[in-house]
């Protein structure tokens, strides 16, 4: 997600469009991205550690973006 405090023009455009469509009370919209990553590891902790390293090195730019790691689900 774009860092809070950093102008997010895409978020603004979506916010305006939602308001124009009649959705009331839209106070703020920020546009980020979601990545789905499948990887092999033994434990959830290992998975989270590797995902954090991936985010820090490549997936997120620490100057402009924050990231969160959501659900880690074992593959069926």
């Amino acid at each position: 997600m774009p860092r809070s405090g950093l102008l997010d023009p895409q978020g603004h455009a979506v916010e305006h469009a939602l308001t124009a469509l009649g959705f009331r009370g839209v106070a703020d919209v920020r546009v980020g991205r979601t990545l789905e990553i499948r990887l092999e590891a033994d434990t959830e902790q290992q998975v989270r550690e590797r995902l954090r390293e991936m985010c820090d090195r490549l997936v997120a730019n620490p100057v402009t973006e924050d990231y969160t790691i959501d659900a880690v689900e074992p593959a069926p």
Binding site: P2, P9, L58, V63
Partner: protein, 222 residues
């Protein structure tokens, strides 16, 4: 001087940079991004374009190209590195320059001539200008809005590392009208406008020619 122009998959201003260097009397070579050395270059140019299709973020993937190890060593040795447009984005992603370049504030791709002012002549690429000189350069980018945290901006101002600032209209919403900056050592410079596409009055401006001038680059390397 021997000038290496690095080609990434998706570079598209590489030949302009090559010709600008040759026109200034340098021996220029095109170096593929898979190369792990710069073939003895004195000066490195990272050209404009859309390396890796701008996937993820502009420059985010190119910064891990094999050639970037050699670019890092070149920069750390204090030798001149110039990143133009996508090259600037790559240098920021590679943390050879501080801050980042994000989507233009108005969300539109901008391709036109802009006016910039030379804010620092203490770099190998701007030593040929008079301080405060106003130049006409073309821009062509969708992600040219320079951003950095307040502490970084203050430091750049204090240390005189803002090299170019937009004058009049700011084409992308860049913080403090920043069009180009330099590294702490002043040898690494990045800018969004295209001086390599402004080296002949025939194409609307020759204001970019001094950036590639032989004497200043030779002095920086010696």
């Amino acid at each position: 001087m021997k000038v290496a122009v690095v080609r990434f998959p998706g570079s598209n201003r590489d030949l302009e940079a090559y010709h600008a260097a040759r026109g200034a009397g340098h021996e220029a070579t095109l170096v593929w991004h898979r190369s792990t050395d710069l073939e003895g270059a004195d000066v490195v140019l990272l050209p404009g374009g859309f390396s890796y299709g701008d996937y993820l973020r502009p420059g985010a993937i190119a910064r891990f190209s094999p050639v970037m190890g050699a670019v890092h060593r070149h920069a750390e040795a204090g030798l001149p590195v110039l990143g133009i447009c996508n090259g600037f984005q790559i240098l920021c992603e590679a943390q050879l320059l501080p801050g980042a370049l994000v989507r233009n504030a108005h969300l539109k791709f901008v391709a036109k001539f802009v006016t910039v002012r030379v804010e620092s002549t203490a770099t190998p690429f701007t030593a040929g200008y008079a301080a405060g000189r106003v130049l006409r350069f073309p821009v062509a980018h969708g992600d040219g809005r320079y951003v950095a945290d307040e502490a970084t901006l203050e430091r750049l101002e204090r240390e005189g590392r803002i090299v170019f600032r937009y004058v009049g209209a700011n084409p992308n919403g860049a913080m403090r009208d920043i069009a180009g900056i330099a590294s702490e050592g002043r040898n690494v410079v990045g800018l969004m406008p295209h001086p390599e596409a402004a080296v002949d009055a025939l194409v609307g401006s020759a204001d970019g020619a001094p950036m590639f001038a032989f004497a200043a680059l030779a002095a920086a390397v010696s």
